[in-house]
Symmetry: C2
Subunit: 227 residues, 2 copies
């Protein structure tokens, strides 16, 4: 009954109960430690966790205060597509539609910070769930990450190969709604102009940009997050 999680729970309860309303300064670590009968380090652990969650804001000398506009953070766990499909209870499969070297188009090179028209590997993969189109993956891959390796992207999808073979350091992901272009519509078996949820990801590794991928999801797809 005196672990840091108990301290966190009690502080959180008081904030939720508005004993300490938004913007208020809460007692210092020393005071809370005395009140709860624990060491200051334990209170520190609890408050640090609440700060990471965005519930309080902490500044040296200024103390700890309850966030005014608690930024709600949702965590998205980006799954490997195969596992995503399997977790929905559907059979997974994929078809490699294209695999060729192409000079990078200007917008692609710009996004990844590569020289214009640098040679890149262009891959098109259609992921299937229960035999039906699930996601159309359009990928630009920096061939520099493949030095010495000859992955067979028709046996293991590029999506999965990269996760296990390349250390990804950072990146970003953006969601948009777009009308299915003619080719997309045909490949995915939907009417042209159908709204598709599109995810665009860029990822960087230890030694530079790795890939830019566009995932066009089948109609009705939901990207779900909890907070």
């Amino acid at each position: 009954m005196q672990g840091w999680e108990d301290v966190r729970a009690e502080v959180l309860r008081r904030i939720r109960a508005r004993d300490w309303p938004p913007g208020a300064l809460i007692p210092g670590e020393e005071a809370l430690a005395t009140e709860f009968g624990v060491a200051r380090a334990t209170v520190n652990r609890a408050l640090t966790a609440l700060a990471e969650a965005g519930v309080v804001e902490r500044k040296k000398r200024a103390g700890t205060r309850v966030s005014e506009l608690p930024v709600r953070r949702a965590r998205l766990e980006i799954p490997v597509i195969r596992l995503d499909v399997l977790s929905r209870g559907l059979a997974y499969g994929f078809k490699l539609l294209a695999d060729r070297m192409v000079p990078a188009p200007v917008p692609v090179a710009a996004r990844l910070g590569l020289p214009e028209h640098a040679p890149m590997r262009y891959l098109e993969t259609l992921h299937l769930a229960g035999g039906r189109p699930f996601v159309l993956e359009t990928r630009w891959l920096n061939p520099a990450v493949l030095v010495g390796e000859q992955p067979d992207f028709s046996a293991v999808s590029a999506n999965e190969w990269l996760v296990t073979h390349v250390s990804l350091v950072s990146g970003d992901i953006a969601f948009t709604a777009e009308a299915a272009a003619a080719r997309e519509a045909e490949v995915m078996g939907v009417a042209s102009g159908t709204p598709l949820l599109v995810a665009e990801r860029t990822t960087y590794g230890t030694s530079g940009p790795v890939t830019l991928v566009r995932l066009a999801h089948a109609p009705g797809h939901r990207v779900q997050m909890t907070f």
Copy 2:
């Protein structure tokens, strides 16, 4: 040169460099503490941070191993719409289009776990950025959270009032791409059928469900996350 962040950085470097490949067991805290010349608690802090980030997995007695399929987690910071607009350098405004009590439709009641046809407050708000439609907010609000309060949703948007006046405990958010329905198209000034990025949020407070809100974003809207 001997803080926990340095330890984290060095361990991360070795993982990235594949000194410790995916699946491998890394040395125990004691061993690392000795090697780096710090206390075990410092190594523990570093490894705990890496575990939270999903880079390693830790189990008592079994030790710490490098994650096989490092789940990439992206964090979405859900902004108050007004601040989102302002951060884009545009003037913010909103229009309250509807505000009435309506018996909850079955799907709404079901999602929030309320009895069917329970009376709910239905709100429609059009958020404007630089005078142009930005988001159409369609909200079902549990009137139980308003006991004793009489917020004027034409003065402060429901979006913002809730964040500051109700303690939100948990919730979920889902993104989909949908074709603009006739009414949506008219209100937002786009052609009917235009793909819109739709966010659907349900939120729960300390004393039950709070609200279900649907945010239909203007064409071209991007929801951006970093990881």
